[in-house]
C-alpha cells in the first residue's frame, strides 16, 4: 500500500483514512519518504515538519478512540512559506525572515489543523511572492517535476511542484497576480484563487493587501474544493473577509464531475487573452478544449475585455505601492535578520539589514512602489491604476452578462527554462497577463490542466467566474476535468515523470 498512496488523489487518500485502510502515520510517512526521495532534485520544500508523524499519530489515536473527525483528518498538506505557522519557520522565501518562527498560526493553517490535516512542511516561493518562477527565492529555485531544467511557475512554485511530484496530495498557495494559477498551469495541477475576501488573509505575510488571496493547490478539482471548504469563510481577524454563507464547494465539484455534460453552460472566450503573446501550442490546446466544451453542450461565445490591455501596467503600480508599505516592517527592530555594527544608529541598522536581507526583485518593487506613492505622483500612478481597476471590473461585468464563466489559457507558454527570463523583469511580468485581471477585479479564478504542449510540458486552462461565484468554477472545473480525463485516460499528472526509477510503472495507475 505504502508504495503508491502518494499517487492517490487527495480525496481518494482521505477516503482510505476514513475507512481505516490507511493510517495517518502511514500516509504521512509515505509522503515524507517521497520528499526525502525526490526533493533533493525538486526543492519544493524549505522546511519539513519534524512533528508531522507525531501529529499524524494523534489523529490516528483520536480516530481509534471513535471520535468523529473531519473527512480530511489525517491527510497530509504542504503549506506555502508565506503563511505563518507556529513551530515552523515562516520566511516568505526571504533572507530577512530566515529562521523566524511566528507565535501564531495563519487562520487558514489553524483551520487545517482544526480539521485534522497534518502539515508536511513549508514550500518554496519567490521572495515575498514576487515572481513567476520561484527563482527569486532566497533559498534557491524549485524545479519543475516535469522537467528539472524548467521553472515550476511562481510565486507558489514550491506548492505546485510538491503536488505535481507527489510529495503532497494537498497544498496551500497564495495568489496576488496568478501565483496559484500560473504554477498550476505549468505543473499540470489544479489551483484556485477564491473570490477576494472568501478566504482569510490573517497570518498570510502580505504582498499586496488588496490583491492577495489564499487558496488550494491540488491534483484534482474536487481536492481543491475540499480544502477550500476547510479554509474558507468569514474570519473576524481579517476585515476584508466576507461575511456570507458559502455553499459546499466539494458538493459542487462532485455534482459537476458526475453530470457528464455542460448543457446550458454559457462559456465566454476572452478575445484579448486568446491571441497576442500566447504560444502556438498553448493556443492549439485551448482551441481543442473549446471544442470539447462545445461537444459537451456548452454554448461558447466570444467576449471582449478591452481594458485588459492596461492590466499589467496597473498591476505593477498597485502591487509595488502596497508592497512598499507592507514590507516596511522588516526593519530588524522586533524580529528577523539584523545587520549591525557597533556605533551605528537605528537608521543605519535598518538600512544595512534591508540591503542585506532583501533580494534584487524585492528592492526593485519597493523602489517602484515608493516612487508611485510619492507626493505629486500619487494621482498619476496609484490613482490612475485604481481607475483601471474599475474599468477592468466593468469589462468583467459586461462579459458575465453574456457568459456564466470565462475561459482563457492560464499562462501564455509552457514552463520556461530556469534563468531564461531572470534578467528580463518585463518579460517575467508579462507572463502574468492572463491571470492578473482576476486579482484586479477580485473575482475567483481556477487553473487546471488542458493537455501537453509541443515540448511535452503541461498547458493550463483558466476559468473565471463573477465575484462570489466560486461554486460555479468548481462545478464547471470538475466537469471539464472529467471530460478531459476521459480523453486522456486519467488526469494529467498521471503522465508526469516519475522522477526516479523506482516507480516507472506508477504512471499507468
Amino acid at each position: 500500500m505504502t508504495a503508491d498512496i502518494t499517487r492517490l488523489a487527495g480525496h481518494e487518500l482521505a477516503a482510505l483514512l476514513v475507512s481505516g485502510e490507511v493510517s495517518s502515520v502511514e500516509a504521512t510517512q509515505a509522503h515524507l519518504d517521497r520528499i526525502a526521495e525526490v526533493d533533493g532534485d525538486v526543492h519544493a520544500f524549505l522546511h519539513v515538519n519534524e512533528a508531522a508523524l507525531e501529529q499524524a499519530r494523534a489523529i490516528d489515536e483520536r480516530r481509534a478512540a471513535g471520535e468523529e473527525l473531519h473527512e480530511l483528518a489525517g491527510a497530509p498538506v504542504a503549506i506555502k512559506d508565506v503563511l505563518c505557522t507556529v513551530g515552523m519557520p515562516s520566511t516568505a522565501g526571504s533572507r530577512i525572515l530566515e529562521g523566524w518562527i511566528p507565535p501564531y498560526d495563519a487562520t487558514v493553517v489553524a483551520r487545517l489543523k482544526q480539521a485534522g490535516l497534518v502539515a508536511l512542511g513549508k514550500t518554496n516561493m519567490d521572495e515575498f511572492a514576487m515572481g513567476s518562477s520561484t527563482e527569486h527565492s532566497a533559498y534557491g529555485p524549485t524545479r519543475n517535476p516535469w522537467d528539472l531544467e524548467r521553472i515550476p511557475g511562481g510565486s507558489g512554485g514550491g506548492s505546485a511542484a510538491a503536488v505535481a511530484a507527489f510529495e503532497a496530495p494537498f497544498a496551500l498557495g497564495s495568489d496576488t497576480g496568478g501565483s496559484i494559477r500560473q504554477p498550476a498551469a505549468v505543473t499540470g495541477t489544479v489551483g484556485m484563487k477564491p473570490t477576494y475576501g472568501g478566504v482569510s488573509r490573517y497570518g498570510a505575510i502580505a504582498l499586496a493587501s488588496s490583491l492577495d488571496q489564499v487558496g488550494p493547490v491540488t491534483r484534482t478539482v474536487l481536492d481543491s474544493a475540499l480544502i477550500h471548504d476547510v479554509i474558507g469563510g468569514h474570519d473576524p481577524l481579517d476585515s476584508t473577509s466576507l461575511e456570507r454563507e458559502w455553499p459546499s464547494f466539494a458538493a459542487a465539484a462532485r455534482e459537476g464531475a458526475s453530470r457528464g455534460d455542460l448543457a446550458g453552460l454559457r462559456v465566454g472566450v476572452v478575445k484579448e487573452l486568446d491571441s497576442e503573446g500566447i504560444a502556438a501550442d498553448v493556443q492549439a490546446r485551448f482551441q481543442e478544449t473549446v471544442r470539447v466544451l462545445t461537444d459537451a453542450g456548452a454554448e461558447v461565445v466570444e467576449v471582449s475585455c478591452p481594458s485588459f490591455a492596461y492590466s499589467v501596467a496597473a498591476y505593477y503600480l498597485i502591487l509595488p505601492a502596497e508592497a512598499s508599505s507592507n514590507l516596511a516592517r522588516f526593519d530588524s527592530v522586533r524580529f528577523g535578520l539584523r545587520v549591525e555594527q557597533a556605533g551605528q544608529t537605528v537608521e543605519d541598522v535598518m538600512a544595512a539589514t534591508r540591503e542585506a536581507g532583501f533580494g534584487a526583485e524585492v528592492k526593485r518593487r519597493i523602489i517602484l512602489g515608493t516612487y508611485a506613492l510619492s507626493a505629486g505622483y500619487y494621482d498619476a500612478y496609484y490613482g490612475s491604476a485604481q481607475k483601471v481597476r474599475t474599468l477592468i471590473q466593468r469589462d468583467f461585468d459586461a462579459a458575465f452578462e453574456q457568459a456564466d464563466i470565462l475561459i482563457s489559457p492560464a499562462a501564455p507558454t509552457t514552463a520556461f527554462k530556469l534563468g531564461e527570463k531572470l534578467d528580463d523583469p518585463l518579460a517575467m511580468y508579462v507572463n502574468d497577463i492572463t491571470t492578473i485581471p482576476a486579482n484586479l477585479a477580485g473575482i475567483p479564478g481556477m487553473g487546471l490542466p488542458m493537455g501537453l504542449g509541443d515540448d511535452g510540458l503541461p498547458v493550463g486552462l483558466q476559468l473565471l467566474a463573477p465575484m462570489f461565484e466560486d461554486e460555479r468554477l468548481y462545478r464547471a472545473g470538475a466537469a471539464i476535468e472529467a471530460l478531459l480525463a476521459e480523453r486522456w485516460g486519467g488526469i494529467l499528472t498521471t503522465k508526469a515523470p516519475a522522477l526516479t526509477g523506482r516507480e516507472q510503472d506508477g504512471a499507468g495507475r
Partner: protein, 498 residues
C-alpha cells in the same frame, strides 16, 4: 521681546492639534489591552502587546467599534458633522516606535469635520474656536533614550522601546487657524485645551490626564505684521504636558518669534520642544509641508460608514456643553461668584465635581482643592490633579465628618496620600493618626492636666471658663493632637466642676 510690545507690532495666529487617547478596553485595531484604560495603567513594558502591536508579519488590523462610537460622540460634542463614509489611510515613515513603519490614520476622509468649541475666558467673555476636523488614528510606542544628559535622542547611548502604547486609539482634533486672539492668546490656548479636556471627561471616553499623556497638545503659533494679509511662518510646539505649559508656551513662542522678526530675521518652520523647567522652547525637527508620508488608502480595512441611526443615538446621549454645564454646577452648588471663579480659574472644576460625585459636599470639596491641595501643588510646582484622586479627597472628608479625624490630622493624612502611602483609611491605619475617642483615656489625661495646674482649675471653678484653654492645650499635647478639641473642652469643664 516684551509680550505687550510683541502684540503691538504683530498679530498672533494660533492653531492646535490635540490628541486624545480613548480609554477603550482594547486597542484601536486589535484585542490587545489598552494602557489608556484604567485597568491597564501600570502594566510592565511590552506586556500589552499582540502580533499587530508588534507589527508581526501577517497580522491585520480590525477596527474597534467602541473607539468608533467614542470618536463619533467626541465629534458631535465638538459640533462637527459626522462623515457618511470615511476611510483609513497609511501614513508611511520609518521610526522604531512605529511597529509597522506606517501609522494607520485618517487622511482625506476624517470621521468628523467642521465644528466649533465655545470657551469662556476668566472675565466671562465667550470665544468660539473653529474646528477643522477630528480623525481617528493609532498611537505609536514609546521610546526611552538612555545615556546622554537630556533624555532626548541626541547624545543617547541607546534607546528602549515599549510597544504597550502602540495601537492605543487616538482622536486628533485639529482647529482651523484662530484669528483675533490678540492679548488673550495664551489664555485662549489654555482654555481651549481645558475645554477639550472637559468635553472628553463629560463624555467619559478618556481619563484626559495630561501628565499621563492621555491628552496631548501641539500648539501652532505664527505672527504676521499688523496690516499684513499673508500668514507668517508657523512653529509647532510639542511636549506641552499641562494647561499651565500650554499658556506659557504660547506666550513664550509669541515673544520669541516677535524678537526674531523685529530684528529682521525669519522664522524657521519646525517642531519645537517645550521645556517645563526653563520655560522655553528649543528647536526640534525641521518640518516642511513637503514631508512625504506617501499616504494611500489602508487596503486592510474597509471604508467606515457610520449609520445615521447610530449617530443620532449618540447625539441624543451627549452630555451638556461645558459652558452650560458650568452654569448648572454653579447654581447647584450655591457657590458665590468669587468662590466659583476661584475654582474655575484654578482649573479645579472637574476635580471638585468628581469629589462631589464621590460623596463630599460641594463646600468641603471646594475647600480642599482650592485650599490645602492648591497650596501643596503650588509649592511643588505641579498640577493639583496629579497630586491626589478626587475619590481620596472625598474619603478624607468623610473621615472628618464622622469625627475620626480632626482638620489638622486630615492634613497629615493628605500628605500621606500624596506620598503614595495609599487611600486615606490606609494612611490613618499606618500612621496611627486616628482621633482618640477612648473616653477613659481622655478623662485620665484631663484629670492629670487639671491636677498639675491647680491655679487654672481654681479659675475655671471661679467661672473664668476661658482659662480652660491652657488645660485643653496640655491634653491635646499629651494626645499628640489626636483628640477632638471640642470634646476635650467638654470633659475639662465637666471634670473641673465635679
Amino acid at each position: 521681546m516684551d509680550f505687550d510690545e510683541a502684540l503691538e507690532r504683530f498679530e498672533p495666529v494660533l492653531g492646535f492639534e490635540v490628541h486624545v487617547e480613548l480609554g477603550t478596553r482594547t486597542k484601536m485595531f486589535s484585542a490587545a489591552p489598552n494602557p489608556a484604560h484604567p485597568d491597564f495603567h501600570d502594566a510592565e513594558p511590552n506586556t500589552l502587546v499582540d502580533p499587530l502591536s508588534l507589527g508581526l508579519p501577517g497580522s491585520l488590523p480590525v477596527v474597534n467599534a467602541e473607539a468608533v462610537r467614542y470618536s463619533i460622540s467626541l465629534g458631535l460634542a465638538l459640533g462637527c458633522e459626522i462623515a457618511q463614509s470615511c476611510r483609513f489611510a497609511r501614513k508611511n515613515y520609518f521610526y522604531p516606535d512605529t511597529p509597522k513603519n506606517y501609522q494607520i490614520s485618517q487622511y482625506d476622509e476624517p470621521i468628523a469635520f467642521e465644528g466649533a468649541v465655545e470657551i469662556e475666558l476668566a472675565d466671562g467673555r465667550q470665544v468660539s474656536i473653529p474646528i477643522e476636523r477630528a480623525h481617528m488614528e493609532e498611537d505609536a510606542g514609546k521610546l526611552t533614550h538612555v545615556g546622554g544628559s537630556t533624555g532626548r535622542i541626541q547624545g543617547a547611548e541607546y534607546s528602549l522601546v515599549d510597544y504597550n502604547r502602540a495601537g492605543v486609539p487616538l482622536v486628533e482634533i485639529v482647529t482651523k487657524p484662530i484669528f483675533g486672539a490678540e492679548h488673550d492668546a495664551p489664555e485662549i490656548a489654555k482654555r481651549y485645551v481645558a475645554a477639550i479636556r472637559d468635553i472628553v471627561l463629560s463624555l467619559g471616553i478618556s481619563e484626559a490626564r495630561m501628565e499621563r499623556g492621555n491628552l496631548r497638545c501641539d500648539a501652532n503659533v505664527s505672527l504676521r505684521p499688523r496690516g499684513q494679509e499673508a500668514l507668517g511662518t508657523r512653529t509647532e510646539t510639542k511636549n506641552v504636558n499641562s494647561l499651565r505649559s500650554v499658556e506659557r508656551a504660547v506666550r513664550y513662542e509669541i515673544q520669541r518669534q516677535a524678537a526674531i522678526l523685529a530684528a529682521g530675521g525669519t522664522i524657521v518652520q519646525e517642531t519645537r520642544h517645550w521645556h517645563e523647567d526653563t520655560g522655553a522652547t528649543s528647536p526640534g525637527r525641521p518640518k516642511s509641508d513637503a514631508d512625504d508620508y506617501r499616504y494611500f488608502p489602508e487596503p486592510d480595512l474597509l471604508p467606515l460608514a457610520p449609520s445615521r441611526e447610530l449617530v443620532e443615538e449618540l447625539r441624543s446621549q451627549l452630555p451638556e456643553q461645558p459652558v452650560a454645564h458650568r452654569r448648572r454646577l454653579k447654581a447647584e452648588w450655591g457657590f458665590t461668584d468669587l468662590e466659583f471663579q476661584d475654582v474655575v480659574n484654578g482649573d479645579m472644576l472637574h476635580l471638585v465635581e468628581a469629589t462631589v460625585v464621590a460623596g463630599a459636599t460641594p463646600q468641603a470639596a471646594r475647600k480642599w482643592w482650592t485650599g490645602e491641595i492648591a497650596r501643596l501643588a503650588n509649592e511643588q510646582g505641579v498640577e493639583a490633579s496629579s497630586l491626589v484622586e478626587p475619590e481620596h479627597v472625598a474619603q478624607l472628608q468623610a473621615l472628618v465628618d464622622e469625627g475620626a479625624l480632626t482638620d489638622r490630622l486630615a492634613r497629615q493624612v493628605l500628605e500621606g496620600v500624596i506620598a503614595g502611602e495609599g487611600a486615606p483609611a490606609e494612611v490613618v491605619e499606618a500612621r496611627g493618626l486616628k482621633v482618640v475617642t477612648d473616653e477613659s483615656a481622655l478623662v485620665a489625661a484631663v484629670d492629670e492636666a487639671l491636677a498639675s495646674q491647680p491655679d487654672v482649675l481654681q479659675k475655671i471653678r471661679d467661672g473664668k471658663v476661658q482659662a480652660a484653654g491652657a488645660v485643653i492645650g496640655a491634653v491635646m499635647k499629651a494626645m499628640r493632637g489626636q483628640a477632638d478639641a471640642a470634646r476635650v473642652r467638654e470633659i475639662v469643664l465637666q471634670r473641673a466642676m465635679d
